[in-house]
């Protein structure tokens, strides 16, 4: 039993793609497609070359928010989506019949069609792979050169993620949607 979450010290991200490669290798993500499981939102500078405005420049890693109140779960007519013992939003693969209503319901655009397994897929914090093998790291987090990602259990008062959320301010994505997301962006 755990309540896994991820915090992002996102201003450290250099958009090197190590996380994306590690994710694809670990979880067998199909090649040739964008924004599968995790991706980085990029904002470029404005202005002209000699006077670039870099204030807006941003590399923001994102993925499924592992909502405690997941709209995708509500939207699924076949009850294929559930929250597992680790607080991770999961899928009964055999129940998914690709209505794609979850894709429409997700405010974070985190879901996509996995054409190999013929299901709607998304990040599940390496549940099938690393967590399944007893590790408590995700592929993206452990490989990151900047150590942007802090993964851990919100129910464990001593976890590193709880420590950092106590020490630092943070924001979450689209809080007004009341999805209770479990991704935290440190500021």
């Amino acid at each position: 039993m755990a309540r896994y979450a991820m915090a992002f010290d996102y201003k450290l991200c250099i958009n090197c793609k190590a996380c994306e490669v590690a994710c694809k290798e670990e979880n067998g993500i199909l090649l040739g497609a964008d924004k599968h499981r995790l991706w980085i939102n990029v904002k470029e500078p404005s202005g002209n070359f000699w006077d670039l405005d870099r204030d807006d420049v941003e590399y923001m890693p994102t993925q499924c928010n592992q909502c405690e109140n997941p709209p995708c779960l509500e939207a699924c007519p076949t009850k294929a989506i559930y929250i597992d013992d680790n607080g991770i939003v999961r899928l009964y693969k055999e129940l998914c019949d690709l209505t794609q209503l979850c894709i429409k319901a997700c405010p974070y655009d985190a879901r996509y069609i996995n054409s190999k397994d013929k299901i709607v897929d998304k990040c599940n914090f390496c549940s099938d792979t690393r967590l399944n093998r007893g590790l408590i790291t995700t592929a993206c987090q452990i490989t990151c050169p900047s150590k942007v990602r802090i993964f851990g259990d919100l129910d464990n008062p001593n976890s590193e993620i709880n420590q950092i959320l106590k020490e630092r301010n943070y924001f979450q994505l689209q809080p007004n949607k009341e999805t209770k997301p479990k991704l935290f962006y440190l500021i």
């Binding site: 201003k11 450290l12 250099i14 958009n15 090197c16 793609k17 190590a18 994306e20 490669v21 590690a22 694809k24 290798e25 670990e26 979880n27 067998g28 199909l30 090649l31 040739g32 497609a33 964008d34 990029v42 470029e44 500078p45 404005s46 202005g47 002209n48 070359f49 000699w50 670039l52 870099r54 420049v57 190999k116 099938d128 792979t129 399944n132 093998r133 007893g134 592929a139 987090q141 452990i142 490989t143 990151c144 050169p145 900047s146 150590k147 802090i150 590193e160 420590q163 950092i164």
Partner: protein
């Protein structure tokens, strides 16, 4: 860089076809069809093997997860001080380098003409036999002048062993490596100025100034990692004619004219001297000829206003930058680790080292560290002395030059213009893609065509491989154990590359290849020396043939009587003890007190040595040399000096061609990697957006780029992130070898248009001295 017009989805067609997914595994891996997929979900069958990465020159430590003899995942090894518990995108993609379907699988013999790619599969013995016959013929013609055989090597690991074989055992004077198309000016400038190549301590610095080095897109450990993790109270300032990710993420970015960093350095020096900002006690203690340098800088009036006219950086910004630099507690002018760009590159690096010296940032925390590396004793071998071997010639006309790796462009020029003092007839090329890696590809092609024998040792059928007569498939870094290596001066360690899986197909490690070659060549080549070498003839008279052979070291495979595992064991146990050996085999890394010192601080950030145990400052005599007499004697500037020829001037309608790389590629070595193609599926030329607008060039438009030596076609990427008079595109693309499925005929190769100019101090190719025109097609 995000380029919207590029559809990654088209790779669905070519890419996914290559990947078959395990259907009965929860952990899915992208593995090619020729592998039996791992079927077990049990964790009992998982083996974890520590290794050192080779996806770039850097060497980071990883742990390979092996399931049923298949490498399924790579994770970082937290024990290695250098790589700081991370694996970059390229390192993670090592699996796809191992299982690249285009890999060289068997020895091949050419049956067509060079470059047409027609090869026949042969056995290892047939390949060695062919090489032997050719070499016997060549050495007879050249009367045992061993220097007619040239070897070159572009891979860091095993280079010294390769040299021992070709230069030591076979006895050639000619060896070339990537240094002269890489960073030899930096190494040379540092050695000649402070007597050591040093190591830069980014982590310990509170003010880092970077000129052009792109540490966030060209990852070097620990430098990139230490910058990316952002040290507390550290300011990063970047100068670049292109707003790289490093520039965009810096605390301050100063756009600058290409090739004018030296002017900025000279102005900083001027301001520091005139305002007496420098560390006077340090200068007094360590500087030699400081008064000369001071007078030179002041007399030349390298003021901030003067530098503004050269660099395009406003004078007051230069003043502010200089003051901040010298007011910082531990400033570092980062020397870079990159290819040579401008014709003033050596002087630029010298000026940078001298600025670090003026700030007292040598042999102290946050500066250029002299440090204390772990000494690994050399394995001694007995190399023959060949009486008829002639001297190398690639350093003729070069003032210093690397005695080890030489000067590629000078060498090639002498060959193709028939100015070499003796014929060079054979070339052994290991992991060195000559057809893509140096300016002016057509000359490289001509050079290779002039050879009687070209042998390539590589893992991939590169453009250079298809110029070879014999291709010998080397296994990848994941399929071999290599000799233990010593890393680092500040936080030193030993690291061992263990074999993650057995060599695939008929590939072999370099050691095994040289062993086979040595056994095949020893006797026949000895017989040639017997015929032509009077010293050997005398020895035979005195000792008898058998003894002369043994004593003279003519057994070319001598080093390989023991395998690498045994050699490692003996070397490590003898010098560092049994425990060190056990740890290197099991964990991949060892240094004294590792178990005591190594601890996690937070979230995968580790401390490797406590601060008071790091070698920030060592008790070593050194001086900072302002004036180099040898340069003055040879008509070059003994102190960093600006010359009119360094001014940035581009004719109307022309652009300065600058080059570099994407974070997801290591030159041509990775552009065939199916995983990395996800992120850099082709290269685009960056052109300033306002200029592009005038030329009516839009994103994705095909443009023709022409220099004095050639023209290429490439897609355009108009952006505000580049100097209006410069264009840039990433190196390593557009393979001509159609065996490279993903990189063949994709994008453009910069070296088809970069002119082959080289500077005369280290003989290094100057990559940013070519002007081009560009037009929409």
């Amino acid at each position: 860089m995000e380029i919207i017009e590029t559809s990654r989805r088209r790779f669905l067609k070519s890419g996914v076809a290559l990947c078959v997914y395990a259907s009965n595994l929860d952990a899915l891996t992208c593995l090619p069809t020729y592998l039996t997929q791992p079927t077990s979900k049990s964790t009992n069958n998982i083996k974890e093997v520590p290794f050192l990465c080779n996806m770039c020159r850097n060497k980071c430590a990883g742990i390979g997860r092996v399931e049923q003899n298949i490498l399924t995942k790579i994770d970082p090894n937290p024990l290695f001080p250098k790589s700081r518990n991370m694996i970059c995108p390229k390192g993670n993609s090592g699996i796809q380098a191992l299982y690249d379907i285009d890999r060289l699988k068997y020895p091949l013999k050419r049956v067509g003409v060079r470059g047409d790619g027609k090869y026949q599969r042969v056995t290892w013995d047939e390949a060695f036999e062919y090489i032997k016959d050719k070499l016997v013929d060549i050495l007879k013609k050249e009367k045992d002048n061993r220097s007619t055989i040239v070897s070159c090597n572009g891979e860091g690991f095993n280079k010294d062993e390769y040299i021992k074989f070709f230069n030591g055992k076979i006895g050639s004077s000619n060896f070339l490596d990537e240094g002269s198309i890489c960073l030899n000016t930096k190494l040379g400038a540092t050695i000649l100025t402070i007597g050591d190549i040093g190591e830069m301590d980014i982590e310990g610095s509170d003010f880092v100034l970077i000129a052009g080095a792109n540490r966030f897109e060209s990852l070097i450990t620990p430098d990139s990692v230490d910058l990316a993790r952002k040290q507390k109270e550290q300011k990063l300032v970047v100068l670049d004619p292109r707003a790289t990710v490093t520039a965009l993420k810096a605390d301050e970015y100063l756009p600058i004219n290409p090739g004018t960093d030296l002017a900025l350095c000279l102005a900083m020096t001027y301001i520091a001297i005139e305002n007496e900002l420098y560390d006077k006690s340090f200068v007094k203690k360590y500087f030699k000829d400081f008064d000369k340098y001071k007078k030179h800088i002041l007399d030349n009036k390298y003021t901030s206003k003067w530098a503004e006219t050269k660099t395009h950086i406003p004078a007051q910004k230069i003043e502010k930058l200089t003051k901040e630099f010298f007011q910082a507690k531990r400033p570092l002018f980062y020397l870079g680790r990159r290819s040579v760009w401008s014709n003033n590159d050596f002087q630029l690096r010298r000026a940078m080292v001298l600025l670090n010296g003026l700030a007292g940032s040598i042999n102290r925390q946050g500066g250029i560290i002299l440090g204390k590396p772990i000494k690994l004793p050399e394995e001694e071998i007995n190399s023959p002395l060949y009486a008829n071997t002639k001297e190398r010639f690639d350093l003729d006309g070069i003032i210093y030059g690397s005695k080890k790796g030489g000067s590629w462009l000078n060498f090639r020029e002498k060959i193709v213009s028939n100015k070499a003092p003796y014929p060079v007839r054979a070339m052994f090329i290991r992991k060195h893609n000559l057809m893509q890696n140096m300016p002016n590809v057509s000359k490289t092609k001509k050079m290779l065509e002039m050879m009687d024998l070209v042998v390539v040792l590589d893992t991939m059928p590169t453009d250079t491989a298809i110029m070879a007569d014999i291709i010998l498939p080397e296994c990848t870094y994941l399929e071999r154990e290599d000799m233990v290596v010593s890393f680092g001066k500040l936080e030193p360690s030993l690291a061992l590359r263990n074999r993650v899986i057995e060599p695939m197909f008929e590939s072999k490690s370099m050691q095994d290849i040289l062993k086979g070659l040595g056994e095949k060549l020893s006797k026949p080549l000895f017989d040639i020396s017997k015929e032509f070498d009077e010293d050997l003839q005398d020895n035979i008279k005195e000792l008898g043939e058998k003894q002369a052979f043994v004593d003279g070291g003519y057994d070319l495979a001598e080093l390989y009587q023991k395998d690498v595992t045994q050699r490692n064991r003996e070397l490590i146990e003898k010098n560092f003890g049994k425990e060190a050996y056990i740890m290197l085999k099991k964990d991949g890394v060892w240094y004294p007190n590792i178990k005591k010192y190594h601890r996690e601080i937070f979230n995968g950030n580790f401390e490797y040595y406590p601060k008071d145990k790091r070698y920030y400052t060592i008790d070593k005599k050194f001086s900072v040399n302002c004036y180099l007499k040898k340069l003055a004697k040879n008509g070059e500037d003994a102190m960093p000096t600006w010359r009119d020829k360094y001014d940035f001037k581009v004719k109307d309608g022309h652009f300065r061609m600058i080059t570099g790389r994407y974070v997801t590629e290591t030159q041509s070595a990775t552009t065939n990697n199916i995983m990395l193609r996800e992120f850099s599926d082709t290269n685009h030329i960056w052109i300033n957006n306002q200029v592009a607008k005038k030329l009516n060039i839009e994103v994705g438009d095909m443009v023709e780029v022409e220099s004095s030596i050639g023209k290429i076609r490439i897609k355009a990427y108009p952006t505000n992130k580049i100097h209006p008079q410069a264009v840039w595109f990433a190196h390593g693309f557009n393979s001509k070898s159609f065996y490279m499925s993903n990189s063949y005929n994709n994008g453009a190769n910069d070296n088809e248009i970069i002119e082959d100019k080289f500077e005369k101090i280290y003989g290094c190719a100057t990559m940013h001295q070519t002007d081009v025109t560009i037009r929409k097609v």
